[in-house]
């Protein structure tokens, strides 16, 4: 017969997965910050470019053309370097996000499959048979026990209810 708290276990798992899914972007950015340690270099480059641009405005192009041109070349070189740096960083960030998402979906799939296998022949809750008429068979699938609530029906219901409940916070 049904375990007393099987329905609560399934509900808890679904709730946990949904909460984790909501926090995935934050987790990805945290992981990116931990793995990418050269964020300061980028900041320094930006500050340097800003300073050079300020210096450039103070130089007269007509009077000191050579110096102006040299500084402009420096700025362009630094800007290109910064662009490449930002490109690699964003590509890395996208990769990390992708990996985190894939890992989450794998964990979620494994959890769901294990729950289904555990409660394949056992209902998560038991109710009098006549309460479920005329959908008792559909509700009891795949256990086949009339009056029982099957894992698939309960998973579906929990997913929907949790999605509706968490929608305002999403």
């Amino acid at each position: 017969m049904a375990e007393s708290y099987a329905w609560l276990l399934v509900l808890g798992s679904v709730l946990l997965c949904s909460l984790f899914k909501m926090l995935l972007p934050t987790l990805s950015s945290l992981m990116a910050k931990l793995l990418q340690k050269d964020g300061e270099t980028e900041l320094q480059m930006r500050i340097e470019i800003g300073n050079m641009k300020q210096e450039l405005t103070m130089i007269s192009m007509m009077d000191e053309f050579a110096r102006y041109a040299r500084l402009e070349r420096k700025i362009n070189k630094m800007t290109d370097k910064l662009k490449t740096h930002v490109k690699t960083r964003t590509a890395q960030l996208a990769k990390i996000k992708w990996v985190v998402n894939i890992a989450f979906y794998i964990v979620q799939a494994v959890l769901m499959i294990s729950l289904i296998l555990k409660y394949y022949s056992e209902p998560v809750a038991m109710l009098p048979r006549k309460w479920m008429a005329p959908l008792e068979r559909m509700v009891a699938f795949p256990t086949g026990i009339e009056g029982g609530v099957g894992i698939t029906c309960w998973l579906l219901v929990c997913n929907k209810v949790v999605a509706v409940a968490l929608q305002p916070f999403g």
Partner: protein
């Protein structure tokens, strides 16, 4: 006397020239005025096919070419776009649509004339065999791409409209924040379903199956829906609706289907909330140990 004779000859020659010129002028005007008729005749809009044969036989090749060039120039003048002769000799027109330029043979306004021409293709198909002219298969080959181009233009217009709609929806979504999904009525439905489940567990389930009150509730919601302010349901354009639109399904059918699908989704959500609340309340009652059937 001789000079008089010469004068007379010159006079006669001048008369001939002027009459010839007049004739040429008349012929030119006639060609220009009747270019549409000629085109229709060549395309086979006339009732009898014999007329086409006669036309084809009577007109020498250089006249046929002349009429073709006249028709092409006439048609290109009629199109609102800028005429542009391409390398293969066909006339195209440049159109400006939403700030982007594209080149197409005819504008969307000429679809009617194109359709007529396409309908006449079938008639001409038989006539061309009789005519045995090398120009006619070329015309037929040109008409097939015209149909394809016409379809392409209509699809392009639809795609541009869709793109603009998506852009406006995206900007609206960014501004609005997408918080319109939970309308008042939806919240009312969900809360009502949960409360009913509780009531059914406490009072009703010993007499009835649990799904009967739910059906009654849904019927009540259908009647109550008109008393609630209807939230502005924007037509949400997704990849699926875009694909359906471009495949030729009318927008009204798609909207109607999406509305029905949305309503079914609402009913399913209500059912899930109702069932969940029922099971939850049942388990809580059992846990607490209240003696209820």
């Amino acid at each position: 006397m001789e000079s008089g004779g010469e004068n007379e000859q010159q006079h006669q020659q001048r008369k001939k020239m002027t009459s010839e010129r007049r004739k040429a002028e008349l012929r030119r005007r006639k060609l220009l005025l009747n270019s549409e008729e000629r085109l229709n005749r060549i395309m086979g809009f006339s009732k009898s096919g014999a007329e086409e044969e006669n036309l084809g036989d009577s007109l020498p090749p250089y006249e046929l070419e002349k009429t073709e060039t006249l028709q092409k120039s006439g048609l290109s003048k009629r199109t609102p776009g800028i005429p542009n002769d391409t390398a293969d000799g066909s006339v195209t027109s440049i159109h400006y649509n939403n700030g982007t330029e594209f080149q197409g043979p005819y504008s969307a306004d000429r679809r009617d004339s194109l359709n007529k021409m396409n309908e006449a293709d079938n008639d001409l198909g038989q006539g061309s065999r009789h005519l045995g002219k090398p120009d006619v298969p070329v015309e037929q080959a040109q008409r097939a791409p015209r149909r394809g181009i016409e379809q392409y233009i209509s699809r392009f217009d639809e795609a541009m409209k869709l793109r603009n709609q998506l852009m406006s929806e995206k900007s609206g979504h960014e501004n609005g924040g997408g918080g319109e999904e939970f309308g008042t009525f939806r919240v009312f439905r969900l809360v009502g379903s949960a409360l009913l489940a509780l009531l059914v567990r406490v009072f009703v389930c010993r007499y009835l199956a649990i799904f009967a009150p739910f059906l009654t509730l849904q019927l009540a919601y259908m009647g109550l829906s008109k008393y609630f302010p209807k939230s502005e349901k924007k037509a949400r354009t997704t990849v699926l609706t875009a694909a359906l639109l471009l495949s030729g399904i009318p927008a009204e059918v798609i909207n109607h289907s999406m509305d029905t699908y949305g309503k079914m989704g609402d009913v399913f959500a209500d059912l899930c909330v109702y069932f969940f609340s029922f099971i939850f309340s049942h388990e809580v009652i059992v846990f607490i140990g209240v003696d209820l059937p």
